[in-house]
């Protein structure tokens, strides 16, 4: 337990930033000034509108379209106050209860647009927050599913050996031999279109986990193979411990740091996978925001010219991926330190040995 605490103490800047972003997206209903589907047809591709200080109070300028062809905007001159902790648009917090409290909002003709607006005048900042929530939730859920399957299969295959091992590993190889995106598309194409947002999200998560479990199962199997011949496991077997007990008490605890690192490093694949599918129009669809479908809107030449800020969705994906990769690296370094201090022969070295042995045959 002390090892775990010192591990968490070292997550550093990346961990803190991720926690911040995750919490922010969790409270999107409160932090976002507008609903993700709150349209303003008079403000298509409106540029960013920031609150500013005027006569000692925060105000938001009112915009007016002056050139509908090139979508140019000018300030009308009138300003409206920016209020904090105010009552604004009514939203269902987490789909559970109605709430209209927002961190900040401004009365109707004016609109705070921290990052600009999209074609329907929807606030990009709000949509990014909601989209980030989708990324976080889907990837966490997906990682949990694929890790449960992957760890279970790897443990059973590695511990049982023989035909069980062979069948399970060939199955994993089949999954890995299919190009991931094609498999995702194949899975997506057998599910009917026009499902509700939630079921589409579940289908995507399920497909991503189906694609993702195999490589983990292989690695876990390698780890188990190298652990089962170690003295403490042999001793446990000799004392007549049941396989379940050996797996739960002896094998899993020895792999937990490694698993933690692997979990962290596999999250980016899920984030990118969901965003990619939504980018292609196979994932979440309008009006529900996802980082992928916001970016898809920004990829046309017209929007690149008139609303380049939509590319911020891509930037958000990159940010999340960089942070999770960084966090994984930090955790791995910590794991190696802990591992080398505690047990002789680090886990990852054993994993590598198992892998090279496999390649050698």
């Amino acid at each position: 337990m002390r090892g775990l605490r010192s591990l968490l103490g070292r997550v550093g800047v990346a961990g803190a930033l991720l926690l911040l972003l995750g919490t922010a997206s969790l409270f999107a209903e409160f932090l976002a000034p507008y609903r993700y589907d709150s349209v303003r047809f008079d403000l298509p591709y409106a540029p960013a509108v920031w609150p500013r200080l005027e006569h000692g109070r925060l105000v938001v300028p009112v915009l007016r379209m002056v050139d509908p062809v090139h979508r140019r905007y000018a300030e009308t001159g009138s300003v409206l106050p920016l209020r904090l902790f105010c009552r604004g648009e009514s939203v269902r917090m987490w789909g559970l209860f109605r709430s209209s409290r927002h961190l900040f909002c401004t009365p109707a003709p004016a609109r705070v647009l921290l990052l600009g607006a999209d074609l329907f005048g929807r606030d990009l900042f709000s949509r990014l927050l909601y989209g980030m929530r989708v990324s976080f939730l889907l990837s966490f859920l997906g990682v949990m599913i694929s890790f449960t399957i992957g760890t279970l299969v790897g443990l059973v295959a590695g511990y049982a050996g023989g035909w069980t091992d062979r069948i399970l590993m060939r199955t994993a190889e089949v999954v890995m031999a299919v190009p991931a995106l094609y498999l995702l598309m194949g899975l997506r194409s057998i599910v009917p279109y026009g499902l509700s947002g939630l079921s589409v999200a579940l289908v995507i998560t399920g497909s991503l986990s189906l694609v993702g479990w195999a490589s983990l199962a292989r690695v876990v199997r390698g780890l188990v193979r190298s652990l089962v011949s170690r003295d403490f496991v042999l001793a446990a077997v000799a004392t007549g411990a049941s396989p379940a007990r050996i797996i739960l008490r002896h094998l899993l605890p020895n792999m937990r740091y490694y698993l933690l690192v692997a979990v962290t490093l596999s999250i980016p694949a899920f984030i990118v996978g969901e965003a990619g599918l939504s980018f292609l129009g196979l994932g979440l669809s309008e009006p529900r925001p996802s980082l992928g479908n916001i970016l898809a809107e920004g990829q046309s030449l017209e929007t690149m010219e008139s609303a380049p800020w939509l590319l911020a969705a891509g930037g958000t994906i990159v940010l999340l991926v960089v942070l999770f990769n960084r966090l994984g690296d930090v955790l791995r370094e910590a794991e190696e330190q802990i591992g080398s201090g505690k047990i002789q022969g680090r886990t990852d070295k054993n994993g590598k040995d198992a892998k090279s042995r496999e390649n050698g045959t």
Binding site: R170, E173, V174, P179, V272, G276, M304, V321, V322
Partner: protein, 322 residues
């Protein structure tokens, strides 16, 4: 050696059979079959539909259907595409050259850039070049391919130096082969570059650490102390040893030649396999989807096999029975 190869091949056959089964199960699981859409057409009588079902064996039990599909597969018949009204194999064969052109040039670009730069960077590890390339490769690893492609489009749009999407522009009818291939090259450059940048990061980091590992080996110091010129040192000792871990990666790249560029193709409108697949998924053209999936998987397996063979040729240590 022969035994190992045979074992490998038998492995591959098992995995391949699994993939075929998987894709067939996926087709079978999909609600309805390709006649369901026809059944909604009021001009076609239910009797005709029933006759067609009979004819195509759609009412047969699962194992028999699978047997038929398998035997068709052996004859190179991947099924029929209902949105293009062409055999799936014909469609895929049409698209493969364009995809290979794109991915092949991207692989050439990324390996041609990353390997020399990595050797350079590792020799002065921690230097300015090394550090900036390292942070660049961190970014390259974190950039999803579709976002990179969008950024490429943005570049094309802002500078006007590159054509925006597609593989050909309409040339005057009299244009010769030279002008046409130059035009194709012009269209190829940006998609290939964005693809190459995407794989640069992994390559650079792997090669760099591999070179660093070799540089620390005693045999290199011994060779140097014997007074070998740096050219020989590099060619015989450093490069051949350092390239080893990358051979496996090369196999993976070979395997990804058909499927690795899907996003880039879609963003740039490159007429390759990836776009074909997307269209197939969108129109629920199941046989086309599964055909593409199968081809991609076969290439992936072949790539892995080739990598193992290459490793066998390059590294005497692998050849020795352990």
């Amino acid at each position: 050696m022969i035994r190992a190869l045979l074992l490998r091949l038998s492995h591959m056959v098992v995995v391949l059979f699994g993939i075929v089964l998987l894709s067939f199960v996926m087709i079978d699981f999909a609600p309805g079959d390709f006649l369901s859409q026809m059944a909604m057409n009021p001009q076609i009588s239910p009797k005709t539909i029933a006759a067609l079902r009979e004819q195509y064996g759609l009412g047969l039990p699962f194992p028999e259907q699978f047997g038929r599909w398998l035997s068709a597969l052996f004859r190179g018949n991947l099924g029929y595409s209902f949105s293009y009204h062409l055999p799936v194999s014909t469609l895929i064969a049409q698209r493969i050259p364009m995809t290979l052109l794109l991915t092949g040039s991207a692989v050439l670009l990324s390996w041609g850039l990353a390997l020399p730069l990595a050797v350079f960077g590792a020799r002065r590890a921690g230097g300015l070049l090394d550090r900036s390339l390292l942070s660049f490769s961190y970014l390259s690893i974190s950039l999803p391919s579709f976002f990179l492609a969008v950024l490429g489009l943005l570049l094309a749009e802002k500078t006007g130096l590159f054509p925006i999407g597609g593989a050909r522009s309409s040339l005057p009818p009299g244009a010769g082969a030279g002008a046409r291939s130059l035009d194709l090259l012009h269209h190829l450059l940006l998609p290939a570059l964005t693809l190459a940048l995407g794989s640069f990061g992994v390559l650079y980091r792997l090669m760099r650490s591999s070179v660093l590992e070799v540089l620390a080996q005693p045999y290199l110091a011994a060779a140097r102390s014997r007074g070998l010129t740096s050219r020989i040192l590099f060619r015989r000792y450093l490069f051949r040893n350092a390239i080893n871990p990358l051979v496996t990666l090369f196999g993976m790249e070979l395997g990804g030649l058909l499927s690795g560029a899907a996003f880039t193709e879609m963003v740039f409108g490159w007429p390759g396999m990836g776009r074909l697949m997307l269209h197939a998924v969108m129109t629920r053209d199941l046989y086309l989807v599964m055909g593409g999936l199968l081809m991609g998987a076969v290439l992936l397996l072949l790539g892995n096999l080739l990598a193992d063979g290459l490793l066998y040729l390059l590294d005497p240590r692998v050849r020795e029975p352990s």
